[in-house]
Structure formats: C-alpha cells, structure tokens
C-alpha cells in the first residue's frame, strides 16, 4: 500500500518560487562533466583486486583468509573456533549448501556442541533474540568492493539485517567473483536492477570491517555497537 504524502505542494511551490521559475516536471539526469570514479583500479585483474582487498583489510582491522571451495568448510570452522565457538547464527541461504558447508553446519557443529541458528522468518522475533546472544554471525557478500574492503549485503526475509550487526563477531564469505574495484560498480549494478524493474532490497548494507568509534579523545576503539571482530573468507574458485 502506498504511504501518505503530506504538505507537498506548498512546500515544493515555495522552492520553485525561490528558484525563480515554475515547478519542473521533467529533469533529465545530466551527462556529468567529470568521471573520476572510472579511473580507480581501472583494468585491474581479478587477482589484483584480491590483493587490493587483502591490503585494505589491514586498514580496517579485519582478518583476511583466502581459501577454495574444497577447504572452505575447514577454514570457516577454524575461524569460528578462534572466535570462541558458538552460538552461531547464519542467513537461510542456499549458497551455504552450494559452497559445501552442509556437512559442517548439519553434522560437525552439532556434534561439537556449537549451537547454530539458521534465520527462519516464520519464527519472527526469536531470530533477533538469537542474533543478540550469538557469538558469531555468518553472511555472504553479494558484491565486494576491493578498494575499501567492503562487503555489500542485500537483506531479504531469509537474510536478516541483524545477523551482521548484533553478534559479537562477524564472518563474511566472499566469492572471488563478487569482487569489483569500488563502490562505483556496486552502485551501477544496483541501478541496473532498478532500471530493469527489480525492487531494491529494503536494506542494503555496505560493511567495512568491525564497528568502531574515535569519539573519545580521537582514540580508535574497535567494536562499539556492532561486531568487535571481523574476518573475510575469500573463496578463490567461486
């Protein structure tokens, strides 16, 4: 259902009036005179982008792990152990199965006593409670920005927003093919979807390392409201 819009006409009329003209009903998005964003990491190969991402992880207090599909399960298990084990919360995402993580999630973790909650929208608020007490949140990057070391996550009913915010630590799986030079390419991908009639996700997160603040004497504190630690696991053959 459409939302309400109030007071619009007087408000916009005043603006047009101040600008000394009538209200505009058509404005074409201009051809911009400058395009500096196209120059950044222009012509970089996928391997070079991985290197850039790896370097940037040092700046953003994020651990960088590189692996392949065959070893992903072990790598993930190891990072979760390093973070002190469960409880773990993940999205409900078929990619976990495609990436060969079924055995880990359905057999190994239960055996090892690692409590795993998979996001289940029919359980409503219970998901948030689980996320709030989780030690580790695991998500998958939809688009990854090499320059800034950013994972882009699109929310949906199966991909809860709070999985990446509430747990004490965050692990983001990054398929190598999802890496692009910078936010420019992500913005274009999103715009293409919009133009082809797709709805943008109600929440798109551009996440760059763990939460932090320099509000006290400009001293950096990592982990304020969101995760205190973060690891990116790049999967080379995906």
């Amino acid at each position: 259902m459409n939302g309400m819009i109030q007071n619009r006409n007087v408000f916009l009329d005043k603006i047009a009036n101040r600008l000394g003209r009538d209200r505009k009903t058509i404005v074409k998005r201009p051809e911009w005179a400058y395009h500096p964003q196209d120059e950044v990491l222009k012509n970089a190969t996928q391997d070079e982008l991985v290197d850039v991402l790896k370097e940037q992880c040092k700046n953003i207090h994020t651990d960088f792990v590189i692996t392949n599909t065959a070893k992903l399960s072990d790598s993930l298990k190891e990072v979760v152990n390093r973070y002190g084990g469960g409880p773990v919360i993940t999205w409900k995402d078929e990619r976990f199965d495609q990436y060969g993580l079924t055995k880990l999630m359905k057999e190994e973790w239960p055996q090892d006593g690692v409590d795993l909650h998979v996001w289940n929208y029919t359980k409503k608020e219970e998901n948030i409670e689980k996320a709030n007490v989780a030690n580790v949140g695991i998500t998958i990057s939809d688009i990854t920005l090499a320059e800034s070391g950013t994972a882009v996550l699109f929310s949906s009913k199966d991909k809860g927003r709070t999985v990446s915010f509430l747990p004490a630590t965050s692990i983001i799986i990054i398929p190598k093919s999802s890496i692009v030079p910078r936010m420019t390419q992500a913005a274009r991908i999103i715009r293409e979807k919009v133009k082809s009639g797709e709805q943008v996700a109600s929440c798109i997160n551009f996440i760059t390392g763990p939460s932090n603040s320099a509000d006290i004497e400009m001293i950096l504190v990592v982990g304020v409201h969101g995760p205190i630690k973060a690891t990116y696991i790049v999967v080379e053959d995906l």
């Binding site: 916009l12 395009h35 029919t122 109600s202 996440i207 603040s213 969101g226």
Partner: protein, 476 residues
C-alpha cells in the same frame, strides 16, 4: 537543544574557549590528525580536484532542480509504503513527529546522530510528551548523559571532553566503576545501549543522502548505531534537511566517497546503509512503519540567492578541521550547533544576524576552509558576503567603524588625502613611538599592541625615496 546553544555574548564565549586549555589541546591535535588523514586519503584516491568538481556539479544540479527531485523522492518513498511529511518549519516537523509518537504510544525512543533534529529541538519536544529519548552515537550519548551539553564539532560532538571527564560523567550519573580507558568507556556504553535498542518503540535517524530514484535513505556511521536504530524498533522516523538528496545510487556513491574521506580520512566508514521503505513481506527485522520528514526551516530562503552554495554542504567538517580560528576558540564559541566555517556561514542564515552577526568576522579569510571543502563551497567568499550584507543592507556595523572605513575609503581614493595622511603618520605617531616601534597604540591600534609591537611609520616613505634616488638604476 535548538540550533542556538548559548545565551552568552560572543566575546564571552570566545574568552571562555580561549581559556579552556584542555579543549584547545584536544582541538589542535584532532585538527592535525584529521588533516593528515584527509590529505592522505585524497592523495591516495588521486584526481582529487576532479572528484571535488564532480561533487560540486552533482550538488549544484540537485539544488537547481530541488523541487523535481524532492517530488520524485516522495513518490518513491510512498510507493514502497513509507509516509512522507514536508515540514516548512521546525514546529511543523516536531508536531508531526510528536503525533506519530503519540499514536504509537511510544515510551522509549532511540536516536542516531542527526544535526537537523538538533536544529529543530526535537528531543525537547519528545521529552515533553514524557518519552525517554536516547542518543546512540557514542559522542552524543556522552553529552546527553552529561546533562545535555551541546556538541562542539559536527562529526565528533564530544571533542572538547577528555576521557577523565567522560569517566566522571558515567560515574556520577550511571554508577560506572571502571577506568578512563576508552575501550572500557565504550564497552560501558555498548552494554547500556544494547538494551535500549532492543526495547525502544521508535527509532529516529538523520539522513546523509536520500536517493530520489529509489526513495531510499543513506546512513553513514562507523559505530553501526544508526543501523540498529533503524532495524530494531517497530517505527522508524527519518528526519532530513530538504537539500540532502541525490538523483540516483550513482551520485550517492560519489558523495559518500567524498564525505568519508573528507570527514575521517577513510575510504568508506564501517557502515553505510541504504534503507528503502518499511520492512517487506516476510522481513523480520526493520520497521513496520517508516516516516520521512523533510525539513525546510529557513533553507528555502537561502535558495536562489547569493548564499545558495552553502546548501551544497554534506556536513563533513573538513572546513572545521582546517580552520585556524576554530582551532583556538573551539566549537562552543560559535553559539550554534553548526560551528567552524560552515557554521559561521549557515548559522546567521538559519538563525538570523541578531544572534550570529559576529560569526562572519571570526575569520581571517585565509581560505583554508574553501580549499578543504569537498564540494567546492567558496566558504571564505560567503563569509565576506555576510559582511557586505551586514554593512550595506543591514547597516549593522558600529558607527566608529563606519567612520573609519569612510575615512579609509577617502584616503585610499584621493592622492591629496593620502599624501597628508601618510606624511603625517610619522609625526602623529611619534608620541607613541619608542625607537622604531609602537608598544601601546591609540584607538584601534590598542587591540594590536596588546599582543605585539606595531612598526613606527617610515620617516621617509618609499615613494619619496624612489623619487629622490639617483636615476638609471645605479646602486644606491
């Protein structure tokens, strides 16, 4: 708190600032760190001037077509089920938000940092309804717990406080027992605030950039507090200054790239989130109801006039961090939530000359702000324009100054007058002269000689030497 943060006179505020040695130490070292990071980030990016020009062209295009883009934005928010309220005044905005809050029977409200909500004094309006309003940005939380102190910097609100002072605030108000280590202080706030997010009825956010094409809003933080404010409570209200929007995701990206580099020297901050409408279908987290309040509050009066460029501002505080005057007087001297060069231009426009006529003079017109601004706002020129308006349109300059300037104008345009004046300077000043300097100057020179010597006028003016010297370029 409204935009105005003090009832004291400008000079008293400045004196207080100049005497606060902790604040001054904190500000100058913060300025240096910010500057180094900003310049480093710009250099690393490369083509910085081109980036600035691109930022400028985007902002100018939006302002020139503001009615169109706001229309498009509101249509698209509505299509996604969000409500849009256009508020011409602070009162309209506040009463709309009060209404929503009352309808929801809300008791607890969490907020993420938003200058415009400060500008319209929203917290007071909500507290009047009996609501508990909790700021979640760490810096703002500290100020709020410490008896609602005003912010002294638009990006780092508690810049003027040291960790010991913060520890004492938490100790006194919340029984905090640990040390002044920033990690421990932050952890304390984390624990307190986590509970608040989970139990709040309404979340209020600001908006860094709205995106017209999709009806989205963008929030930029390092702490992730805005995300929790928007994800957990059932109702989300976003308040934006009417100029804070862009056509599409692509322009948003450019401005965010400029913002994070200019504000904190980061390529991107930890959390950049675009939110579109309330939650959908089966979404578990996210608000059930979304309201976007678009605030004018004096901005439209700036449009179409000589001060329009200030509306290009993306609130990065690069100008604040570059300003040599802010460096010494600190944020509270400006008497406005908007401090530094941007504050000195904006506060008189939004708040009037009665309260803010001194601010445009609190500048040497050194241009450091203009050079730092990522969207190329000619800040020092706008400060100068204010002076012109104050003198020529408002006639507010002191009579003594007017006379002096008239005399100067006359002296500088009439050779006869100049000749008398400049020739007389040396004999006239001789009673005050001691050797080749003046240590206790009369009249306007007094302020100068309180801090430094003033040179005695030459006995022989340069022009006299030139006229009398042997011609033909022989060495004298």
């Amino acid at each position: 708190m409204a935009m105005k943060t003090s009832v004291e006179k400008f000079n008293d505020r400045v004196d207080k600032g100049l005497q606060d040695s902790f604040m001054r130490g904190a500000v100058s070292s913060a300025q240096e760190r910010f500057q180094t990071r900003r310049l480093g980030a710009a250099e690393e990016l490369g083509n910085w001037e081109e980036w600035r020009s691109h930022g400028e062209e985007i902002r100018q295009h939006v302002l020139d077509n503001l009615d169109y883009y706001l229309f498009e934005l509101s249509e698209n928010v509505s299509k996604r089920g969000g409500h849009v309220y256009f508020a011409q005044t602070a009162e309209e905005a506040t009463s709309y938000i009060q209404n929503v809050v009352e309808k929801k029977n809300a008791k607890k409200i969490v907020k993420s940092k938003s200058m415009v909500t400060e500008e319209i004094n929203l917290n007071a309006g909500l507290e009047k309804l009996g609501c508990e309003v909790i700021e979640t940005d760490l810096g703002e939380y500290i100020l709020q717990v410490g008896d609602h102190e005003p912010p002294s910097h638009i990006v780092v609100p508690a810049l003027h406080k040291n960790k010991e002072q913060i520890r004492d605030v938490f100790k006194e108000k919340q029984g905090y027992k640990k040390t002044e280590k920033p990690e421990e202080l932050a952890l304390h706030a984390r624990e307190k605030l986590r509970q608040e997010y989970l139990t709040a009825d309404v979340g209020i956010t600001g908006c860094n950039f709205a995106i017209a094409e999709t009806g989205s809003i963008t929030l930029v933080t390092n702490e992730g507090n805005a995300d929790l404010v928007a994800a957990l409570p059932k109702t989300q209200i976003t308040v934006m200054g009417m100029e804070r929007l862009v056509p599409t995701f692509e322009e948003m990206e450019v401005l965010v790239s400029l913002l994070t580099r200019s504000a904190v020297g980061q390529k991107l901050t930890s959390y950049i989130t675009t939110l579109t409408g309330p939650k959908e279908g089966g979404d578990v987290d996210g608000p059930e109801e979304f309201h976007l309040v678009i605030v004018d509050n004096g901005r439209s009066d700036i449009l179409g006039g000589e001060f329009q460029p200030i509306l290009q501002c993306i609130r990065c505080a690069a100008c604040v961090n570059a300003c040599p005057v802010y460096r010494h007087v600190g944020g509270h001297s400006y008497g406005s939530i908007y401090s530094g060069p941007v504050g000195a231009v904006l506060s008189p426009l939004l708040g009037g000359y009665d309260d803010y006529k001194e601010l445009p003079y609190a500048s040497t017109l050194c241009g450091a702000c203009t050079e730092a601004c990522p969207v190329k706002i000619p800040l020092h020129e706008l400060l100068h324009k204010h002076r012109q308006v104050i003198v020529e349109k408002e006639g507010r300059s002191p009579v003594s100054e007017k006379l002096l300037m008239k005399a100067f104008g006359l002296g500088a345009s009439s050779p006869a007058m100049y000749k008398i004046g400049s020739k007389m300077a040396s004999p006239v000043m001789s009673p005050f002269t001691n050797g080749n300097k003046i240590s206790k100057g009369p009249g306007p020179l007094k302020a100068w000689t309180e801090a430094r010597e003033f040179p005695a006028p030459n006995k022989e003016r340069f022009r006299d030497w030139f006229k009398n010297r042997p011609k033909g370029g022989e060495q004298s």
